[in-house]
């Protein structure tokens, strides 16, 4: 099953089961979503539950948290994560704080579903700002890398009682993979070990899992054994899995497509150090620059397997010192 089909299936199953679930967003209706990730839903559920909106992200997220507070379970589709910035006020100031500020009277079970990452669309359509959201109390953040995780995490997000930001990567939609036949979920807060290893741990998420696996393969040819962990859930982080892995390898490389400054990786490193004491660690991410739509500049900005391999070798030399 293709990644985009896994999303549509998760939505279809949850919408059949729970009439409170509905979608709102730009081009989600007859068009089926910008990546056809909602294909077929408009035909089955109609314009009321698969609802096209004007181009007004603040209103879309605001309407979503409001409908959630009133008892529905909306999915707000924000085509590009860059545009989520317009919806931060209702999401962060209202949705994430609603349960707390009302003393438990109200909750906002909304899923803000968006796409991150570069695919030739330029400086304001390519950003990965997941880490900006990881520090918001009351907000969960997930980012699948396989069709099975897209299916399972989206379904888990739809059953949460508070807001969840669900982040796809644009390059993952055409990817195919096995998806469980049975109705199931992937629990939020559980990382996935994609590859076992003993010399270093690579933590990553979303599309960068592919780069990590490619790098691990190159390292293997040099006799270096890398364990690759797909975080899947960025808030909360699965510190049990990460701690156990780094406890074994005693070296940590974090890889993300976004910025390393105040990024996902530095949070993982900080928590590992709190847990295990100082272990050699290194961050790999995009260059500190905007991501251009120019393919030469885009490629130059983003992390690739060779940069991961170089950083891993340097890390291992520190480990030996």
């Amino acid at each position: 099953m293709f990644f985009r089909e896994a999303i549509a299936r998760a939505m279809r199953e949850e919408m059949r089961k729970d009439e409170r679930v509905f979608i709102l967003g730009q081009d989600v209706g007859a068009f089926g979503g910008s990546y056809r990730e909602f294909d077929g839903l408009f035909g089955e559920f109609g314009a009321e539950r698969v609802r096209d909106t004007p181009v007004a992200e603040a209103a879309m997220v605001g309407v979503g948290v409001g409908a959630a507070a009133a008892g529905h379970r909306p999915v707000v589709s924000i085509t590009y994560m860059d545009f989520m910035m317009l919806g931060f006020d209702p999401l962060i100031n209202y949705g994430a704080k609603l349960r707390y500020k009302t003393g438990g009277q109200l909750r906002a079970p909304v899923v803000v579903k968006t796409t991150a990452g570069a695919k030739g669309q330029g400086v304001a359509h390519s950003q990965c700002i997941e880490s900006w959201l990881m520090s918001v109390p009351g907000l969960k953040v997930v980012a699948p890398s396989t069709p099975a995780d897209a299916y399972g995490l989206l379904k888990a997000a739809l059953r949460e009682d508070g807001p969840v930001v669900y982040v796809d990567h644009k390059r993952l939609f055409p990817v195919a993979g096995e998806v469980p036949l049975a109705d199931s979920i992937v629990p939020i807060g559980k990382a996935n070990i994609l590859r076992g290893g003993s010399d270093l741990t690579i933590t990553t998420h979303s599309y960068m899992t592919r780069i990590a696996l490619e790098a691990a393969k190159s390292l293997e040819a040099d006799g270096i054994s890398a364990e690759v962990i797909d975080l899947r859930s960025l808030a909360p982080l699965d510190m049990d899995a990460i701690g156990a892995s780094v406890g074994k390898t005693r070296a940590l490389l974090t890889l993300e497509e976004g910025q390393v400054t105040s990024g996902v990786g530095i949070e993982v490193i900080g928590r590992v150090h709190e847990l295990l004491g100082l272990v050699p660690a290194v961050r790999v991410g995009a260059l500190p620059a905007p991501v251009s739509s120019n393919p030469v500049l885009e490629q130059a900005c983003l992390p690739d397997a060779s940069r991961v391999v170089t950083a891993a070798r340097k890390l291992l030399s520190q480990k030996r010192d």
Partner: protein, 311 residues
């Protein structure tokens, strides 16, 4: 508005005034956002709302919460930070919420609740309930994008949403004339083809009549309506904010008191005498004293509650 209805409105306005005057003398839990002078807007609007409706407001929410029927003791406890408050003492000023009483809540981000109100209205529309949503906001929120986006989306979707702009002339210190372009703020409704009016917000009867008309329109499923209520805030932005108006200006503003006006009207028509007025005053004073006593004997939240109801 006649007879018992008018008397109920008078009592409600008197309660808000007495409640805020007493609260203003209690600086122990920080500053407060008072609505004295603007009671007619809250009371007139709430007179038109039914039990299945929900009201959302901006941060200046004491008057609207009390007018909607929230328990004054629990509102006071919330504003004084006690765990018996409407929000267990966690919301405080600007975030009062009591959805069971039809007060879905206030939200202290200017314009923020306009977005949320449209979501609540959408949820009601999709649930096929007969309830509607009223969102009360100040002239400060008028310039924010939220209003403009939600006017569009709610008209396009025919949401059961009543916009009520309580234009009290000032956003903190910035005069409405400096900040907002339209001649009348209700002119904005014309662009969307929704019923829109600018009315005297210092007259509870006028507000109630316009609100009843607007609520009937919204409840009929024809989509939103817009009311601009011209009002005057008697106090400064908050109990700790500098007053920017002159004494002469304030004296003129206070001469427009909606409580004095309704009292005069009722007395002139024989609906109220001095003894009945004194009874009402005593009655609301007792409610306020009971609210203070309830709050003072209530506990502050346990520090461990900093981590409850977060996720």
């Amino acid at each position: 508005m006649i007879g018992t209805e008018a008397k109920r409105a008078l009592r409600s306005m008197m309660l808000i005034r007495a409640f805020e005057e007493t609260l203003a003398k209690r600086p122990d839990h920080g500053f407060q956002l008072l609505s004295s002078g603007e009671e007619a807007v809250a009371v007139g609007l709430c007179a038109a709302l039914g039990p299945d409706d929900q009201l959302l407001t901006g941060g200046r929410s004491i008057g609207p919460a009390l007018a909607r029927g929230c328990d004054p003791s629990r509102v006071m406890a919330e504003l004084l930070g006690r765990s018996t408050g409407t929000n267990r003492g966690k919301g405080g000023r600007g975030h009062l919420a009591d959805p069971a009483s039809g007060f879905f809540g206030s939200h202290a981000v200017v314009g923020g609740n306009i977005n949320v109100a449209a979501g609540v209205a959408l949820s009601m529309q999709m649930s096929r309930t007969s309830g509607i949503v009223a969102v009360l906001f100040g002239d400060g929120a008028f310039g924010a994008g939220a209003l403009h986006e939600i006017l569009n989306i709610s008209t396009a979707w025919k949401l059961p949403l009543l916009f009520v702009c309580n234009n009290n002339q000032l956003s903190v210190s910035t005069p409405r004339a400096t900040a907002l372009a339209p001649r009348n703020l209700s002119d904005i409704g014309l662009a969307f083809g929704i019923p829109s009016k600018t009315i005297d917000g210092m007259d509870v009867d006028t507000v109630s009549e316009a609100a009843h008309e607007a609520v009937a329109w919204v409840r009929s499923g024809k989509g939103p309506a817009f009311l601009e209520c011209i009002s005057y805030r008697f106090a400064s932005h908050s109990t700790t904010a500098r007053e920017t108006r002159s004494r002469a200006e304030l004296a003129e503003i206070r001469s427009r008191c909606p409580i004095v006006k309704l009292t005069g009207q009722l007395k002139a028509t024989g609906g109220l005498d001095d003894a009945a007025e004194a009874d009402l005053k005593r009655e609301v004073a007792e409610v306020v004293m009971a609210a203070i006593a309830f709050s003072d004997r209530s506990e502050y939240p346990n520090p461990a509650e900093a981590l409850t109801d977060v996720w």
